[in-house]
């Protein structure tokens, strides 16, 4: 089920999602034990075009996924390591990796 690309979405010239840019890693690609600081939230992708990416961004922000927040992946689900449970500052949040895609993390040196 692919819907036609939304013209408001970025052009494919954007860096491919999930690939480290400037040492950043998408939370969706992190493994258990990944620790770091959130660098950016909500670079929209074509993948979640079903939900307005702006809407997803705001939901993430409202849950506390904001630039500068501390994250750590605490647990992974048993099928396909999905969903993940993260420590977000001092809360615990469960989310699917698909939703975590737009959260880029600057990982700590030792994680």
């Amino acid at each position: 089920m692919k819907s036609s690309p939304d013209p408001s979405l970025p052009l494919p010239s954007d860096p491919p999602i999930g690939v480290a840019v400037d040492g950043l890693v998408s939370l969706a690609d992190g493994r258990r034990g990944l620790r770091g600081t959130i660098a950016t939230v909500g670079a929209p992708t074509l993948e979640n075009a079903t939900l307005q990416s702006d809407e997803l961004e705001r939901r993430l922000l409202e849950m506390g996924f904001v630039e500068g927040a501390r994250v750590e992946i605490l647990h992974e689900g048993f099928i396909g390591r999905d969903p993940i449970c993260v420590r977000l500052d001092d809360m615990r949040v469960a989310l699917r990796r698909r939703e975590a895609r737009n959260v880029m993390v600057r990982r700590d040196a030792n994680s």
Binding site: M1, G42, T50, L51, D54, L56, E57, R58, R59, L60, L61, E62, M63, G64, V66, E67, G68, L74, H75, E76, G77, F78, I79, G80, D82, P83, C85, D89, D90, M91, R92, V93, A94, L95, R96, R98, E99
Partner: protein, 642 residues
């Protein structure tokens, strides 16, 4: 009175009139203790539990302060922002903004904050302030904050936010009167300043940039006023290491569910035998005391055999609720949702569907209400459609009766009761078919991608024994009240249909064959004969629409009446005598699927606002029930169980 209504503004100054009926709304993040606060303020008994999304409707209560002033308190669903996305959050937004029809906005908003988790609620408090609502911050769960050695500078916090801050422990009713005082003072100050609470102050949905801005502000306030805990809670992390472990976690979840259903089946036995004996003795006593006749028949066979056969299941209901309430209070529900998300997602269900579905083990009605936390309408409808397939507590009497009558009481696999296993199997069948139907619904009706799943996992808490006991007792009370009202009246009706009219003089067959029940049963029998139901079973299904457990009472009455004067109180024994194993299994299969509950259909109508979905639900469930019973009956007959 024309005089007073002609010039009310002269007799009562407007400010005072408003102050007389103060309206207060409880707003806050999910699971921050709003309902506990509501209960503490008003003495209500609304449901409190340790997961996000317990409250899904607005509830109103009243406080009468010593000064004779009445305050109307609104309990609202939890939310992270006023930018509502799911139906429950819409209720909160509309209540705060005064958009609900026929309702003025609250004079004061109590923003209930979990003191141990302030970051998100501070942003919400800033949002509320921006709307222009006079707000008081209740720093709830201050007991836990103190235990963790969390330092909160409340004076500074109050100054930064520009609102009074009061520490509270809602569950222990600490700080409640201080909170009420602060709220009243705030309302008086507003009234004195002559500000009106009407209008939305031009509220618009915040953009991502605005959310970021408010969050930074909240972060700054947090840094200024709160120092990190000296003794942070390490238990939650340690328990999660086991309970969310990819292998152990699933194992423990399955074990917990299995133990729950085993306990429901086997643990209640002794008390149930006692209750049965009590009703038998009562029946014998009445039979001795009353002359033979219609009245004796009504009381012994209608009321005692009917209601008694349902009340017997009280211990099972209590055990089931004890388990569910403990799981809810500890904080396990959100974990179970995490563990099962992938499996549910595979069936096309929303991750948050787990909690409504688990609530449906108690009753599909609160389960269907709980789907309001699901933001996407289609996801919500799918969950509503499959919720009644989860085995609700009203099926327990039917399952127990038939399983104990037909499944041998043997031990298998080293100590597990075979009856308990079959009982668990019925639950498993319900769950599995819910997943399959959900999957089919998505294939047939809509094929949209699923919605985001973002859920806060609460800290574990030790359940408060008094709260647990109170809630279990409440469930027992509801069950008995049903037995005393719906079930009792259905029983009297069934007794009437079974005895009237009496047989003609010189009739050959049993008297019940000539009664209305006999006539109705015989009339629908051809329809149900292909699935192995006798006319007595067919009769029991009809009142079973009022409440599933009535079917058991109805069977009790039908067999008590048709069994003549010597009717034994042990319904199971007479069923084992009269039904073939194949029919019994078909009856179970029917009950796994059949939409035998008018109130569920009514709630679906209310929640979806159309007759379309209850009709679809009724149709697909009846179809499944018929096919399942047919297949089971004929397979069993072919295997020689006819």
């Amino acid at each position: 009175m024309t005089h007073a209504s002609a010039a009310p503004s002269i007799l009562v100054p407007p400010a005072e009139a408003a102050a007389d009926r103060l309206r207060v709304a409880l707003v806050g993040n999910p699971n921050s203790g709003k309902t506990a606060m509501f209960n503490a303020l008003t003495g209500a008994r609304q449901k409190v539990a340790n997961y996000a999304g317990v409250t899904v409707e607005r509830k109103e209560g009243r406080i009468l302060s010593p000064g004779g002033r009445t305050t109307v308190v609104l309990d609202l669903p939890g939310t992270y922002s006023l930018r509502a996305r799911s139906p429950d959050e819409v209720v909160t937004r509309d209540a705060v903004l005064g958009r609900l029809a026929g309702e003025v906005p609250p004079d004061v908003v109590i923003c209930v904050a979990d003191a141990t988790n302030l970051r998100l609620v501070l942003r919400l408090a800033l949002e509320l302030k921006a709307v222009g609502r006079p707000t008081v911050l209740a720093l709830n769960m201050i007991d836990i904050a103190q235990r963790q050695g969390l330092d909160i500078d409340t004076d500074r916090l109050s100054a930064e936010l520009g609102m009074p801050v009061v520490g509270t422990v809602a569950t222990r009713r600490r700080g409640i009167s201080e909170l009420v005082t602060a709220v009243e003072a705030r309302a008086d100050a507003e009234a004195a300043a002559g500000r009106s609470n009407l209008g939305e102050h031009g509220w618009t949905e915040p953009s991502a940039a605005e959310i970021r801005h408010l969050h930074r502000e909240a972060e700054r306030i947090l840094k200024a006023c709160v120092r990190p805990p000296r003794r942070p809670d390490t238990w939650t992390g340690r328990m999660d290491d086991v309970l969310l472990h990819p292998v152990w976690g699933i194992g423990i979840l399955l074990t917990v569910l299995f133990l729950m259903f085993q306990a429901v089946f086997t643990g209640a036995k002794p008390v149930m035998d006692l209750i049965t004996a009590g009703f038998d003795a009562l029946s014998a006593l009445v039979a001795q005391g009353l002359p033979d006749g219609l009245l004796r028949s009504l009381i012994c066979k209608g009321v005692i055999a009917g209601v008694g056969s349902v009340v017997v299941f009280l211990p099972q209901i209590l055990i089931l609720f004890l388990f569910i309430i403990l799981l809810e209070d500890v904080g396990y529900m959100a974990r179970a949702a995490f563990l099962l998300d992938r499996i549910m997602g595979g069936a096309g269900l929303h991750g948050r569907a787990f909690i409504p579905l688990l609530s449906s083990f108690a009753c599909a009605i609160p389960g269907i209400m709980a789907t309001r936390v699901i933001d996407n309408r289609r996801d919500r409808l799918t969950t509503i459609l499959v919720a009644p397939l989860m085995t609700c507590s009203a099926r327990i009497p039917v399952y127990t009766l038939i399983v104990s009558a037909f499944v041998p009481a043997r031990q298998v696999l080293g100590g597990l009761s075979l009856q308990g296993l079959v009982f668990f199997g019925l639950y498993a069948t319900g769950m599995l078919s819910a997943l399959i139907v959900a999957w089919a619904v998505r294939k047939v009706f809509w094929r949209s991608a699923s919605e985001p799943f973002l859920m806060e996992l609460p800290s574990y808490k030790v359940p408060d024994p008094a709260n647990v006991l109170r809630n279990v007792a409440l469930r027992g009370h509801i069950f008995l009240r049903r037995a005393g009202t719906t079930i009792l009246s259905m029983m009297v009706l069934i007794w009437f249909l079974c005895t009237v009219p009496g047989p003609p003089v010189g009739a050959a067959g049993p008297a019940i064959d000539y009664s209305f029940a006999g006539v109705i049963g015989h009339a629908i029998e051809p329809l149900l004969a292909p699935i192995g139901f006798s006319w007595q079973m067919s009769v029991a299904l009809i009142p079973g629409m009022a409440a599933r457990e009535v079917a058991v009472g109805a069977l009790g009455t039908v067999y008590a009446v048709s069994g003549g004067e010597e009717a034994s109180g042990v319904l199971g024994a007479s069923l084992a005598h009269q039904w073939s194993l194949a029919s019994a299994l078909a009856f179970l299969a029917w009950y796994v699927f059949a939409p035998q509950c008018a109130s569920t259909l009514a709630v679906v109508k209310r929640e979806t606002n159309s007759w379309r979905w209850p009709i679809i639900m009724f149709g697909y469930m009846t179809g499944l029930a018929y096919v399942a019973a047919f297949v089971v009956y004929h397979t069993a007959v072919a295997l020689g169980a006819g």
